[in-house]
Symmetry: C2
Subunit: 624 residues, 2 copies
C-alpha cells in the first residue's frame, strides 16, 4: 500500500487527471469484485472528486474528529465506489479492503455509505438528503462553531427533482452560507433513463440562482475548470455556491459511457475497461490538513444546575407548554442543546426557547424535511438537536427520520397536537399515526407524557438517550398528577391505581391516562377493582410491570389517541413475545375518520374516553 | 336565503368589492360562532376569491360531478371560512349551516375542508399539498380527458417553503400545464410571525419563473388587477401561471390587519369588525356554468377479458416482475388504470406498463410526494392510480398518503425492494417500516404476496378495493407456489401446511413464507407438526383462520422482513383483541441494523430465515 507516488507538493492538472482515472479504475474493480454497485455513476464524478481531494478538501483522515476538518457528504450515495476509491487514494483504506470488502457481509464498505466508516458523517442513499443535511453542518460553522471549515456536498442530477433539495437551496441561500458548496454531477442519465433536464445546465443554474445561490457551470471533466470553480466557491462571500458540472456517465469506457441501461451494475467487461482506463494505478494523495481549530465548547451551560420547571399538582397545564418551558431550561443547563422549528413554535411552545437562546434556535419555516435534516447536520457537529412541529407533520420527514437512524444520529423530535383530542381543527392536524411511525424507526425511543411535571423530566432525559428520540405532546391542558421531583426513567411506567383484588388493568398514556383514571373511579363505584398504568415510555416498554399486571389481573384495556395500528396496544403486546402468556386485551383506539368537534366530543366519538374504557373493562370482567 | 341581489349579469368591480367584504364578514361570523378558526387568513384572500367566483370560475354547484367543471383547490386549507363563505355566496350552502355548523360535531363544514362537502376534491390543511394535487388534476385534462376545464389552486405564502410545492412547480412547468393557475396569497405573516420573504413578491416570482411558469405580480386587493391577471392566466398558452398577490392578513379590520398574533383565532370583537366591514350582506353570485363536456370513457378497456399473466409452479419469478406484468394487463382490461413512477420503473417493473400504455404512464422522476399527489389528482378525475417506487422511499410521501385517506382517495401504492432480502444495497434501500406506515393509514388495505401468481391476482384485486391500497413486492426471485387460477380474496390467507397434530403455527408473508415452508420441512423431520399460514392480506387480516390456528396449536411463530413494530406480528395479534384468548407468540423480525450482504446472509443475520423459524418453533413447543 506504500506508494512511490506519495507527494508533498500539490499535484499537477495532468497528475489529477491520472488520479481521476485511478478512481474510475478502482470503482470498476470494487463493483466487479462485489458483483454489484454503481460504477458508471462513480465514473462521471471522478474528475470532480479528484480535484476536490487533491486541491480543495482540508481533512485529516487520521483524526476525523478534528474540529477544523471540512465535511464531505456524498449525497449521491450510490456512487460509493467513488468515495471508497477516494479514501484509498487518501491512504485511509487499503486496496485489500476495497477489493474484498465492498458490499460484503460485515464490511464497513456498504453499498451506500454509512457512519460505520469514521469519515462518513451521515448515511446517504435515499436521494435528496445530503444537501439538506449539509446545510445543517454549514449552519453550525456559521452560527455556532465560528470555524472556517467548509462543507462540500456532491449531488447527482436526478436528485434535483426532490423537493427536499429545494428546501435546502432556500434555507442555505437565505442564510447566506458561503461555507457551503454543492457540486451537481449532471451526467444526464438517471436510473430508468434520461433525467428531466438532460445536459441543460442552465435549467439547474436558473433555478438555483433564483434561490440566492452563486452558480458556476462547467465541463465536469476539465480539471482546470473544476479547480477554478472550486477555488471561486471557496472565495465567494455571502452566498453558497453550486458547481453545475456537465459530465458523462461511465466516462472513459466506451461500452458504457453516456449509454442507457448501465445504471447500478458492474461494467460488463471489467478487465478491458480497466485497460481502456489505463490500468491500475497506485497514486496516494496528500490531502491538505485542516487549520488549527479550537473545539467549540459543548460541555456545561450558563447554569448547569438550573431547575426544570415545576407545576402544582391539580393545576391544569398542557404538556406542550411544559415541553417549551423545560427545553428552555435545558438550554440554560447545557450548551449543546439546539432547537429547530417548522414555523409553529408558538403552538409547539418550542418558541419559548427562542426567547432565551436565540442563537441556538433554528427557524426552518414550513419545511419539515429540511428541519429534520438541519437537526441531523447540527448533530454531526456535536449538538443535541430537538426538532419540533405538529406531530402530524413529522410524517413529512419520515424518510429523513428513517435515514437519521441509519446515520446513527441522536436526533430528538417533538410532536405536538397528538390525536383527536386537539378538537375542532379536524383530521389534517391530528397525529394518529405518529406512534406507529416513530416506534418502527430502528433504535428509537418513544415517550408520551400525560402531565406537565412528567413532560419536563422526560424532555431533559431525552437529551442523554442515544438514537432517535420522540416526545409526543398534547394540545389541551391536562391535570398535573405527579410531584415536581418525581423520577420517570425511560423504559419505565407508573402504576397509579392498584389493589390486591384488581380484576382488570387499564392502560393509557397522555390524554387517555386521565380517561383511564376517571374510568377507574366509575368501576370502583360498581365494585370492580382496576389497576391503572401510565405507559409514558412507549418504547422501550416496561415489560416487567406489564407482565406483573397480566399475572395479577389477566385482562387489559388499552386506550390510545391514535389509530389502532402500531401504537400503545401493540407496544403493550411486545412484552408478551417469545412465548410469554398474553392477557386478554381490549383495544380502544381511533377507528373512525374524525371531523371537527370539541376535544371531549372527539374522545367520546372515537370511543377512547372514560365511558368507553369503563364499559370495555366491565365487559372484559363479565366475560371471565 | 333567497336574495334580491341575484343577478344574471356579470358583477361590476364595485359589486365584486362588496362581495369580497361579504366573504370577510361571513368568515368573521363563522369563526366567531365556532370560537376558533382562521378568519385573518381568509380576509387576505377575499378579493382573490371574489373575483374568481364572480368572473372566472366555471362550475355548476348543483352538479359537482359535471365533467366540464373547473376545479378549485384551497391549498391553504385553514382559510376554510373563506371557502365556505364563497359556497354561501354561490348559493351552495345557506347562512344557517355556515353559522351553526362550522367546526361543530357532525358538520360537513370542518376546520379544514374535506370531501364530505361535494364541491371539495381533496382534503387540505397539511400545507404544500394543494398545488401538487392540482398538477394531477390538470394533467388529467391535458393528457387524458382532453377537456377545457381549468384548475385553480389558492396557496398561502408560508407553504412556499415546502419542497413538495417545488416538485409541483417543476412538474407543471415541464409539462406546460397552461390549464393550471395557482394564486399565491402573499399576506406576509405565517403562523409564528413573518414569512421568510415577507412582501418580496419577486422573491417568489423569480423562483417560480425559473421553473418554467408564467408569473404575474399584483396587488391582491385591486379587483381590476386581479381580474386582469386571471383573464391573462386563462389566455396564457404553453405554461402554467402563478398569480402572486400582495395582500394584508386580516384586511379590513384595523384591530387585526397586518398584525402579528392573530393567526388561527377569531377576530377579537366580531360585532365591531362586522360593522367596520360594512355589515352583513346577502349577495348571491351566479357562478358561470361549465361548458358542455362529454365524460371521458373510463369503463372497459381495449380488451376487458385480457388474461392476467400466469406463471408455472416451481419456476422462480420476482413478485415485482409479476406486478409489472399484471398491471400492464390490467391497463389493457381497464381504461381507468393509470401508473405513476418515481424514476425507478425499471426496478419496480412499473415500466412495463409504459411500453403498452404510454399515455397513461406518468413519469414523476425522483419526487415521491409529487408522484403520490399526482395520483390523487388523477383519482379526482376518476382514474384508478397505481403509484410505485421502492417501498423505502414511499416514506417520503407519508404525509401525502395520510392526507389521501382523509381525501377519501382510492389511491393504490406499490412498494418494491421490501426488507433486508434486497441484499447488498444496504439499509437505505430496504423498506423495514413500510408495513407499519401503511397499516396505520385510515381505512387502508395492505397486501404482501409471496409468489408471482398471487401477485398478479392481488394487483388486479386492489383496483376495486376502496381507500388507500398497498402492495409490497420483493426484489429477488421467489418460487411460484400457487396455480395460475387460484383466488386470493382480500382479507384472506392460505393454509399451506396443516395436520391434525399441529403443535405450532408458522406465519409468514412474502420472502418469509418461503422460509416458513422450509422450516416446516425441518420440523417434520424432527417429528414436530407445524401449520403454515401465508398471511398475504396483512390488513384486513384473516381473523377466523388465525383464531382456528390458535385454538388448534396454541403457539405462533411469526417471521417478517420488517422491523418488529407495526408489521406482520402486530397484524396477527389484532385478531385477538376484545378479549379473545391469545396464542403464545414468538416474533422474528429485523431487530438489527443491517449492512451489505447477500439476500440469504441478510435473512440469516436478521434471524428470519428457516433456521431461525425452526429453532423458535422447537423452543416454543418444548416450553409446553
Amino acid at each position: 500500500m506504500n506508494s512511490t507516488a506519495t507527494r508533498d507538493q500539490v499535484l499537477t492538472d495532468a497528475e489529477i487527471a491520472e488520479l481521476a482515472q485511478q478512481l474510475r479504475v478502482d470503482a470498476v474493480r470494487a463493483s466487479a469484485s462485489a458483483g454489484s454497485g454503481h460504477p458508471t455513476s462513480s465514473m462521471s464524478a471522478a474528475d470532480l472528486m479528484a480535484v476536490l481531494l487533491a486541491r480543495h478538501l482540508r481533512y485529516d483522515f487520521n483524526d476525523p474528529g478534528h474540529p477544523g476538518n471540512d465535511h464531505l457528504i456524498l449525497s449521491k450515495g450510490h456512487a460509493s465506489p467513488l468515495l471508497y476509491a477516494a479514501y484509498k487514494a487518501a491512504g485511509a483504506i487499503d486496496e485489500n479492503e476495497l477489493l474484498t470488502g465492498y458490499r460484503k457481509l460485515g464490511s464497513r464498505l456498504e453499498g451506500h455509505p454509512t457512519p460505520r466508516l469514521p469519515w462518513v458523517d451521515v448515511a446517504t442513499g435515499s436521494l435528496g438528503q445530503g444537501l439538506p443535511i449539509g446545510v445543517g453542518v454549514a449552519l453550525a460553522a456559521q452560527r455556532l462553531d465560528h470555524l472556517p471549515y467548509r462543507t462540500w456536498v456532491l449531488c447527482g442530477d436526478s436528485e434535483m427533482a426532490e423537493g427536499s433539495v429545494w428546501e435546502a437551496f432556500e434555507h442555505a441561500g437565505m442564510e447566506g452560507l458561503d461555507n457551503l458548496t454543492t457540486i451537481v454531477d449532471v451526467n444526464r442519465l438517471g436510473q430508468r433513463g434520461p433525467t428531466r433536464h438532460g445536459w441543460d445546465l442552465d435549467a439547474y443554474g436558473r433555478r438555483i440562482r433564483a434561490f440566492g445561490w452563486h452558480t458556476v457551470e462547467i465541463d465536469g471533466h476539465d480539471i482546470a475548470a473544476i479547480d477554478e470553480a472550486m477555488a471561486a466557491a471557496r472565495d465567494n462571500r455571502g452566498a453558497p455556491t453550486a458547481i453545475i458540472a456537465r459530465t458523462r456517465k461511465g466516462k472513459g469506457v466506451v461500452a458504457v459511457e453516456n449509454l442507457e441501461g448501465h445504471h447500478g451494475k458492474p461494467v460488463p467487461d471489467a478487465e478491458s475497461a480497466i485497460s481502456e482506463l489505463g490500468g491500475v494505478r497506485d497514486i496516494l494523495v496528500q490531502v491538505q490538513g485542516p487549520p488549527d481549530a479550537d473545539p467549540p465548547r459543548l460541555e456545561g451551560g450558563a447554569d448547569p444546575h438550573a431547575a426544570l420547571p415545576s407545576y402544582d399538582r391539580g393545576s391544569d397545564v398542557a404538556t406542550r407548554t411544559a415541553f417549551g418551558e423545560a427545553i428552555t431550561v435545558l438550554g440554560t443547563r447545557r450548551a449543546d442543546v439546539v432547537v429547530l422549528d417548522g414555523e409553529v413554535g408558538d403552538s409547539t411552545k418550542a418558541g419559548l426557547f427562542a426567547d432565551e437562546h436565540p442563537e441556538r434556535y433554528f427557524e426552518c419555516y414550513i419545511a419539515e424535511q429540511e428541519m429534520v435534516a438541519t437537526g441531523v447536520g447540527l448533530g454531526v457537529r456535536g449538538r443535541v438537536p430537538y426538532a419540533s412541529t405538529f406531530a402530524a407533520f413529522l410524517t413529512r420527514a419520515h424518510d429523513f427520520l428513517r435515514m437519521a437512524a441509519i446515520s446513527r444520529s441522536d436526533l430528538k423530535v417533538v410532536g405536538s397536537h397528538a390525536g383527536v383530542s386537539i378538537g375542532q381543527d379536524g383530521p389534517s392536524q391530528m397525529a394518529l399515526e405518529d406512534l406507529a411511525m416513530m416506534r418502527a424507526i430502528h433504535g428509537s425511543t418513544v415517550l408520551y407524557p400525560c402531565d406537565a411535571n412528567q413532560t419536563a423530566q422526560l424532555t431533559a432525559a431525552l437529551a442523554d438517550v442515544p438514537g432517535i428520540g420522540y416526545l409526543r405532546t398534547t394540545r389541551g391542558e391536562t391535570p398535573v398528577l405527579y410531584g415536581a421531583g418525581e423520577d420517570f426513567p425511560v423504559g419505565g411506567s407508573k402504576v397509579l391505581r392498584s389493589h390486591p383484588d384488581d380484576q382488570v388493568t387499564l392502560i393509557g398514556a397522555g390524554v387517555t391516562l386521565h380517561q383511564a383514571l376517571a374510568a377507574h373511579d366509575r368501576l370502583v363505584a360498581d365494585g370492580i377493582r382496576a389497576r391503572v398504568i401510565d405507559l409514558y415510555s412507549v418504547k422501550p416498554v416496561d415489560t416487567q410491570t406489564l407482565r406483573e399486571a397480566a399475572a395479577a389481573t389477566g385482562r387489559f384495556v388499552v386506550a390510545e389517541d391514535h389509530h389502532p395500528e402500531g401504537g400503545l396496544a401493540d407496544a403493550v403486546l411486545e412484552s408478551f413475545g417469545n412465548g410469554h402468556p398474553m392477557p386478554l386485551l381490549t383495544r380502544l383506539a381511533v377507528h373512525t375518520m374524525p371531523g371537527s368537534a370539541t376535544p371531549d366530543e372527539q374522545l367520546h366519538a372515537a370511543g377512547i374516553d372514560a365511558d368507553a374504557i369503563a364499559a370495555a373493562a366491565r365487559k372484559l370482567v363479565a366475560a371471565r
